[in-house]
């Protein structure tokens, strides 16, 4: 008998989680409804943005849409897969995290599986659809590198947000009452990346765009795809570096996580 792959095992745990959630039908229906309502509002925001005149920070409406859509697609995909890992603090408090550590699987993988929220699938689909529309509308000189880049970049953006979610969740290892501190960076980061980075001002812009790398989620990739120069003067080759920046973010998040697990204190008996 062939040994089942790791992925199959996680898939099984994930399916069990979905079955568990489906046990509470009414609650699931309500959450799905609420999530769809949020999605509708998200779309409305985009349309409002356009009706105001479209242009922001010296960019035309189509570029702005591309940035907003890329940001939405990245964040929604990340939110679907890891958006609930900040529940770690609840799991630590209730001692559920102990149980995860007692199983022969990666603790982070299990945490992802047990916090997976199926109701967010709609938002991810919507984000990716919006992104496809924005790509069609935008003024892009298509060639092979751009096509590949356009396919890859929502997922590197998603991985970037996932790294943020994980890094934010690890705060709970030291500070169980961490509350929503990490959300300043995750949800704040989503809002930051929805608009052209050059419209923000001063040190705040530099810190978030380059220092924390948020410019590499939607702003620089959109510039790379449309072939426009950066008003801030960041060289063109750097616009293509989102995958590398994401890789660095993932490594950092992994280091945070490992360090956090080693310092895990557990609670009570």
């Amino acid at each position: 008998m062939a040994e089942p792959g790791r992925l199959t095992i996680y898939t099984r745990v994930l399916r069990a989680q979905i079955r568990s959630q489906a046990q509470y039908r009414l609650s699931f229906a309500f959450e799905l409804f609420a999530s769809m309502l949020t999605n509708a509002l998200d779309i409305a925001t985009v349309f409002v943005l356009f009706s105001v005149g479209g242009g922001l920070g010296g960019f035309g409406a189509r570029e702005v849409l591309l940035m907003a859509a890329l940001s939405a697609a990245s964040f929604a995909t990340a939110d679907l897969t890891m958006g609930n890992v900040d529940n770690l603090r609840v799991y630590i408090r209730r001692g559920v995290f102990d149980s995860l550590l007692l199983r022969p699987l990666s603790a982070l993988g299990q945490l992802m599986a047990v916090t997976f929220a199926l109701r967010r699938v709609g938002r991810a689909v919507l984000g990716l659809t919006l992104y496809t529309v924005a790509l069609c509308v935008a003024d892009i000189d298509w060639d092979i590198p751009r096509l590949l880049f356009a396919i890859v970049v929502p997922f590197t953006g998603a991985a970037f947000f996932c790294s943020l979610f994980v890094a934010g969740a690890t705060v709970a290892f030291w500070w169980i009452e961490s509350g929503e501190v990490a959300n300043a960076f995750t949800y704040g980061g989503r809002d930051f990346t929805s608009y052209p980075s050059n419209m923000y001002g001063g040190w705040f812009r530099d810190l978030f765009t380059l220092g924390l790398g948020f410019g590499f989620v939607a702003y620089f990739p959109a510039l790379a795809l449309t072939g426009q120069p950066d008003p801030l003067g960041v060289p063109g080759w750097l616009h293509w570096c989102s995958p590398l920046v994401t890789l660095a973010a993932m490594c950092l998040a992994a280091v945070f996580w490992r360090f956090g697990v080693r310092h895990y204190r557990s609670t009570g008996s």
């Binding site: 745990v13 079955r19 568990s20 007692l102 022969p104 008996s269």
Partner: protein
């Protein structure tokens, strides 16, 4: 040696409020230099008062917590560094933590665990069959875990911990909160595991009856240190707890009568009931001497209460 710990320590830093804003950092040692070696097939009782460091020790042995100091191996592995490898070779029941899927039927949890631990189908089926017979799981195996009674859930947890055939079974308070019948079922089951002899069991408990029924070896921990490591009998010998003979008599106990090798500890019911603590003599010798000296009506021999000994230990 399947478990070995030398100088095992776990320190926690605690912030304590001083005044309105200032806080002081204190280092508290939950486990303070524990040495422990357990041979394969042993059944070990690990006891101590609340906060003595029992659970913390267990969490370090299972790879949940990183020790602050000392060395520890379980199944020859360093628990934290080799956590996932070790997880396949040990089973854990934490009375307050569940390994089961709350909203799914017990049977589904078992089948998920089979995949997670990659247990061959036939082995899984055989172990599950054995556990369901011994623990009478059949009547509730299709019920979602959240609807099970505590006793039923605990029987489920025990099964879940044993399905992958662990070499060591760690039990933290497995009988806490259970009714008498469920306690009995759990104890009988564990006694069975012990007599089969291929699984090493480490058990923490507050219920000393668990220890008396199950464990030959007893490790008592207090303030993070081992204060006793030996058999139950050795504990009694060390703290001079003695077996007691209670005799009912037809005529009152004569004043000043003594028996060799036994102390009269009380005379009650107008002298018709006498209690003797054995001190050197065997129960048989004392009973024979007693029958020769006074008209006996009824008699019972009581084992020393382990709880009394432990209470003495904690107080000292």
């Amino acid at each position: 040696m399947i478990i070995s710990a030398r100088g095992l320590r776990k320190d926690f830093t605690v912030n304590r409020k001083v005044g309105r804003f200032r806080r002081e950092r204190h280092v508290v040692s939950a486990v303070d230099g524990v040495d422990l070696s357990v041979e394969r097939g042993e059944m070990l009782g690990y006891i101590g008062p609340n906060g003595a460091g029992k659970s913390t020790t267990l969490k370090m042995l299972t790879g949940v917590l990183t020790p602050s100091g000392g060395e520890v191996t379980v199944c020859g592995l360093a628990p934290v560094a080799k956590r996932t490898t070790l997880a396949r070779r040990i089973g854990v029941v934490f009375g307050q933590r569940s390994q089961l899927w709350w909203d799914l039927p017990l049977a589904e949890s078992f089948s998920l665990l089979r995949h997670i631990y990659r247990v061959p189908d036939s082995d899984h089926a055989a172990r599950l069959k054995m556990c369901s017979q011994l623990l009478a799981l059949d009547e509730f195996i299709e019920t979602p875990v959240r609807q099970l009674s505590l006793g039923q859930r605990m029987r489920g947890e025990l099964t879940a911990a044993l399905l992958h055939g662990p070499e060591v079974l760690f039990l933290d308070e497995p009988t806490i909160g259970l009714d008498v019948l469920s306690k009995q079922a759990v104890r009988d089951f564990l006694a069975g595991v012990a007599t089969r002899g291929d699984t090493t069991v480490v058990l923490t408990t507050h219920d000393l009856a668990d220890i008396e029924k199950l464990c030959r070896r007893l490790v008592v921990i207090d303030h993070g240190r081992v204060v006793h490591d030996g058999t139950v009998d050795e504990l009694h010998a060390r703290y001079r707890s003695r077996r007691v003979i209670v005799a009912d008599l037809d005529t009152p106990w004569p004043d000043g009568l003594t028996l060799p090798g036994a102390d009269v500890t009380s005379v009650t019911a107008d002298g018709h009931r006498v209690t003797l603590a054995l001190d050197g003599a065997t129960a048989g010798e004392v009973v024979a001497a007693l029958a020769g000296a006074v008209p006996l009506r009824d008699l019972s021999v009581q084992e020393p209460e382990i709880e009394d000994v432990i209470a003495k230990l904690y107080r000292s």
